[in-house]
Each structure stands twice: as structure tokens, then as C-alpha cells.
């Protein structure tokens, strides 16, 4: 493609900064391990997660927005694969806990109901306006995108506020609209539908959405050139 050559601006060499940061990360990791070895593991997992998120340009917001905006479902399918991997992983952890006779199901299990749908829609509107979900915003704060520095401040304000009033919401909104037996119990698919049905059913549904997303993109993209 023909385009005028633009003078390349002199770029800072970031390698020394990267090496310095790597050293700081290792020192902080060793210090955290001295306090509690779990802290060091959280530290390394958090940083690895951030690197993968940034390098892959993975974005939950885009995974739900781009199918509508551009017809691209690349990220949607990536998220669905992540869900499938998580289903297998968490399924294995929970099933193992069940077999070993541990009381209760490990993991964050919450009640579902109308409040889930309302919250999801509110979060969806918010994340498209803010230009990122929680992880995406955090990642771009690190990248240095200033607008998201504002978003993260209000994200924290909102989270703190929600945590402060959670008791009230729990009693007045979540309890009445929830389809689970009680707030503390949560809604656990395998408990409700049985392990085989819940586990394989979830994988089959996710795979079906994956195939639909693939078909949707092909249909949309075949249409786009004709429109222009």
C-alpha cells in the first residue's frame, strides 16, 4: 500500500525500564514469600494474568460489544473457550472436594435471579462507556491510558459504596428475586441438576454459542463488503 513516509519519532528505549521492573517484581515476590508463601503466589499469578491480558488484547467488553458493532466474534469465541476451560477446571476442583467429603462446595457461589440480569445490564452499559470491564480497565491503567485512570477511581468508589450497602441490597433485592433457597446458600448448578447434566450441559451450551458466534461472524462479514 502506498503511503507517504512519515518521519519516525525518536522512541525511548524501554528495555532498561523492563529489566528494572522485573528485578522489582522478583524482590517484591521474595519479600512477600517471607511473609506468607501464598502472597507470593497471588503476586506472580496477578502479574502473569496482567501480561496475558495486555499482550493478547483480551477484552471482555469487546467480546460482547464487537459482535454488535463490527460483526467480529473473535474475542467472543476466545471468552467462550475461557469459560469452557474454567468449567472443566472448577468442575474438577468441586467434584474432587465432593468425593473427599469436604462439607460445602468450594468456590464463590451466589444466588441467581432477576437481580443478576439487572446487574449484568447495568455493568454492560457501564463497561462500554468506561471503555473496559474491571480487568480491562486495570490493564489500561497500567498501559497509561489517562481516561481510564478516571474510570478506575470511580470503579473503586462504586465498589466501596456497593460493599457498604450490600447488606441492604441482599435483604431487600437479592432475597426476594432470588431462585435459590437462601442468600448464603447460592445457586449451584450441579446441586440443582446433577453433576453429569450440569457439567456436560454447560459445555454443550457453550460449544453451541461458540458455533453460533462463528456462523454469525461469517454471515456478517460476507454482508459487509456488499454494503460498502
Amino acid at each position: 500500500m502506498e503511503s507517504k513516509k512519515r518521519p519516525a519519532r525518536k522512541r525511548r528505549n524501554q528495555v532498561p525500564i523492563a529489566l528494572g521492573l522485573l528485578l522489582l517484581i522478583i524482590i517484591a515476590g521474595i519479600m512477600l514469600a517471607g511473609v506468607n508463601s501464598m502472597l507470593a503466589i497471588y503476586w506472580i499469578f496477578g502479574i502473569s494474568f496482567g501480561i496475558v491480558l495486555q499482550k493478547s488484547r483480551f477484552c471482555f467488553t469487546a467480546s460482547l460489544r464487537d459482535p454488535v458493532l463490527t460483526g467480529s466474534t473473535t474475542l467472543t469465541r476466545a471468552v467462550l473457550i475461557a469459560f469452557m476451560v474454567a468449567t472443566v477446571g472448577f468442575g474438577a476442583i468441586q467434584f474432587k472436594a465432593l468425593l473427599s467429603g469436604v462439607a460445602g462446595v468450594p468456590g464463590n457461589i451466589f444466588p441467581v435471579g432477576l437481580h443478576t440480569a439487572i446487574g449484568a445490564i447495568m455493568f454492560g452499559i457501564g463497561m462500554v462507556i468506561a471503555g473496559g470491564c474491571a480487568s480491562g480497565t486495570l490493564m489500561r491503567v497500567g498501559e497509561g491510558f489517562m481516561q481510564q485512570w478516571i474510570a478506575i477511581v470511580f470503579f473503586v468508589v462504586g465498589s466501596v459504596w456497593a460493599a457498604r450497602d450490600f447488606g441492604w441490597w441482599s435483604v431487600n433485592v437479592i432475597m426476594p428475586t432470588s431462585i435459590s433457597d437462601g442468600v448464603t446458600k447460592g445457586f449451584h448448578l450441579p446441586t440443582a441438576f446433577g453433576w453429569g447434566f450440569a457439567f456436560f450441559g454447560q459445555l454443550i451450551i457453550l460449544a453451541a454459542i461458540f458455533l453460533f458466534a462463528d456462523w454469525y461472524e461469517k454471515k456478517k462479514l460476507n454482508k459487509v463488503p456488499l454494503e460498502n
Binding site: S3, R57, G132, F145, M146
Partner: protein, 75 residues
Amino acid sequence: MAEYKLDCFGEACPLPLVKTQKKMETMNVGDVIVVEIDHSCAMKNIPDWARAAGHNVDIEEINDGEWEVIIEKTK
């Protein structure tokens, strides 16, 4: 063969793409648009959309965290 410049510095994800799509509609075949962005997400979805729509796309990192997406309208 006009060349347009679209300054999208400081604009978050869907905005640069929507602006690019709107501008492309008003352009003639063969015209070139240079979209300046500094949001890493737009660096993915603008080229993705433009390539899918069949245009010629080129990406240049002009500075740390600043990119130019150069799109030639082909149809």
C-alpha cells in the same frame, strides 16, 4: 486520492472505530484515512473491521503507545 487524518488520541475503545466507520462512508474509493489512536483496544478492532470489510490496512507505531492505522478505501 485525498488523504484524511482522524485524531482519536485520548478516546476509548469503541469511539475511534465508530468515527472511522462514519468517515469511511463519506470517502471515495482510493482515498486514504490515517487514524491516530492511543487506546490499545482500538489498535485491534479498527484493523480487524477494515480488513474484514476488504480495505487495505497498515499499522504503524509512531510512538510508545501511539499508533497510526492507515486505511485505503478499496470499494
